[in-house]
Symmetry: C2
Subunit: 404 residues, 2 copies
């Protein structure tokens, strides 16, 4: 049992993770399942959308020039010679003085060049006549071929996280599958003889593992697939065995990361790979660490749930997003707001301060220790105090990262 | 084929949906699956967290008063009489002049009242002696019973969407399941003979149904479970049959909502229930409508994908969120930014204007028609121009709802 000799700076740890964590390989997914996934290819349209001139309105297709001068007071009569429906074009010819009924989405015949919308017409004296009550210019109410997307156009660049409407564009283009970054598989391994599996009732001096279900949700939030493991006991062999069983693209190991007699995780990581950092100048979660098994990052998260969340947010979350081709930056919504009270920190240390937002002002929560998990549920978010800052005075503006 | 006699105001439609769409019944879910779900119960802690006084540090547990006066220059020697580990309390008594090794999370024995962290100690001349290099006050580095959560406290109010850390709190409290609002099941029904099923290649005058996969993603985003249906043809019987087969808590029916000869959806909704609105003063998606089959809302979405997205965002999305116990308000991130160009609208009409954000300024996209689906993929978001506004001048500040 000994203290940390030196604590790494948060920025230094982040820098190494930025350098060493690369997006995973790609995989093909069906377009209908691609929502929210991140493209690793450029997508080029192979056809025009629309693929033919189509009506943008319900109305009458005709020659625009024949409507010139028409008004509600002096409508122009046109003979209605047929109808066009979606996927059922008008088969005949539209001659001078003639129009066809046309529905939204129906192909526009050749020889006509505009659609008068139904609201701008009146029924004529007989069924085969329509009165046009306003002039239209050529092209009016027609979606021309390629107007939306032209064949050969790049519709999406790589790194695009696909929105619902992006899936619609891909579907409309007849693109059946796309190449996306593989979802990172993330091992979640918790250590501690005092722990009962999530779902148990606490008993005696044993507490329930609350970190696994929290980490599972965080991994899902960041686009990963969590892989659960049984709780490992606090001995070097057990931890090495458990770590060796991890097959994911990243490993979260929670607990046993400090400098107590039972903290075998750093030694296990060192024995199986590389312990790049152990002890980080931050509060909470200074006993956090980062290692690598080859290219796979290993995150040593403190067992204390607040520290675990904090270390996850700083190091694991950005890396998991990055493995999946997403930007590393924090994903919480932010607001810049004034502080009602001062928020002190120490030069050289990064603070993850839980705060409430009340009447558009930031109230730091008074928290006695890092172990107060309920501080993260009472809080509306966190203010990060950087290593070069002593904190904020009352009235200063700070950026709050909102949990919801 | 006739025009709309009157278009309802967006606000009026929203008002009716607010009044008539109620959260669904509740269901029990296992806490480990409750992340992101919305509580419909208050959660009260039935036990203290921590359940016993526990060490917050690795170090030495002792009587605080015996450290008074200790410093690095004049350390106080204490005899180490044992150790406490998590879930393995020290079984003996700690007498005067004595301390025990204690690990983070270990129970603190009676008779001692503070923990000196290991960094503030030095090994003594023999193995059973530790030198205390600094004074601690009573209670120092001890998480006392109930300090985080006290039995009887309300930890969560109803309507809470559970965060990852909330799941941790519930788990720590040994709460195995919680009552949450049931996820709304949402039918997605698309009509149109011109449509090929999503996943097809467009051919001739037939286009691919791009709305179903988009709506599926939107429903998932809003906490619902989509229910797919085959594409219905454009005739009244087929649409009534398809609508009658819907079993969800809300129905999205897309296409056939306008006033053309093939637009049988309004009649079908009227025949099977109530058509509350048809024709809304907005652009795009003025042919949208809202109906009810008993308590179940039915959303008539235009077949044009941009209009479909717009009508979904205005009416269906808030209602689906509300069915699931979530706030109705739009969920896009917003930013208030100046416009580079003017953005005109009409008094009495709500506009859903696609815009880009370039150098922290809003650029309205020049879009020739509502049917330009790629406008929603090129856009960074939308600016809503309210019915009482004629739009914005260049330089005015507007709120952009960001798609990502």
């Amino acid at each position: 049992m000994r203290g940390f000799r030196r604590r790494a700076e948060v920025r230094e740890v982040e820098g190494v993770l930025e350098d060493r964590v690369e997006p995973l390989a790609s995989e093909a997914v069906a377009t209908c399942n691609a929502g929210g996934r991140v493209l690793c290819q450029e997508v080029v349209a192979s056809l025009d959308i629309p693929q033919f001139d189509r009506s943008a309105m319900d109305g009458y297709a005709l020659r625009a020039e024949e409507t010139f001068g028409a008004s509600a007071y002096a409508p122009t009569d046109m003979r209605v010679v047929g109808s066009a429906f979606p996927a059922q074009p008008f088969a005949g010819l539209v001659g001078p003085g003639e129009a066809i009924r046309i529905m939204t989405g129906a192909p526009v015949p050749v020889h006509v060049d505009a659609v008068v919308k139904v609201e701008d017409t009146r029924p004529g004296p007989t069924d085969d006549v329509v009165q046009i009550c306003g002039a239209v210019s050529p092209g009016k109410n027609i979606s021309s071929r390629g107007e939306d997307i032209r064949a050969g156009t790049t519709v999406f660049e790589p790194e695009r996280a696909l929105r619902p409407q992006d899936v619609a564009v891909l579907t409309a283009l007849g693109i059946q599958e796309v190449m996306v970054y593989r979802r990172p598989r993330v091992d979640i391994l918790v250590t501690g003889v005092e722990l009962l599996a999530a779902g148990s009732r606490p008993e005696g001096f044993r507490i329930v593992d609350a970190n696994s279900p929290m980490l599972e949700q965080l991994v899902l939030r960041d686009g990963g697939t969590p892989i659960g493991h049984p709780i490992a006991t606090d001995d070097l062999d057990a931890i090495m065995t458990a770590l060796s069983s991890c097959t994911g693209d990243a490993i979260l190991i929670c607990g046993g990361s400090s400098v107590g007699q039972e903290d075998h995780v750093p030694a296990a990581v060192r024995a199986l790979g590389e312990l790049a950092f152990h002890g980080i100048a931050m509060r909470p979660s200074s006993p956090a660490g980062v290692g690598f098994f080859g290219a796979r990052p290993v995150f040593l998260l403190p067992g204390n749930p607040v520290s675990c969340l904090c270390a996850y947010d700083f190091f694991a979350g950005p890396s998991i997003r990055s493995l999946g081709g997403r930007p590393r930056n924090w994903t919480y919504r932010t607001r810049d707001l004034p502080l009602v009270r001062k928020l002190t920190s120490e030069i050289g240390r990064v603070d993850y301060a839980r705060v409430r937002v009340v009447n558009d002002r930031i109230e730091p929560l008074m928290v006695s220790g890092a172990s107060i998990l309920s501080s993260t549920t009472r809080a509306d978010g966190v203010v990060i105090v950087s290593a070069d800052s002593e904190g904020y005075d009352a009235g200063d503006t700070a950026t709050v990262h909102l949990y919801d």
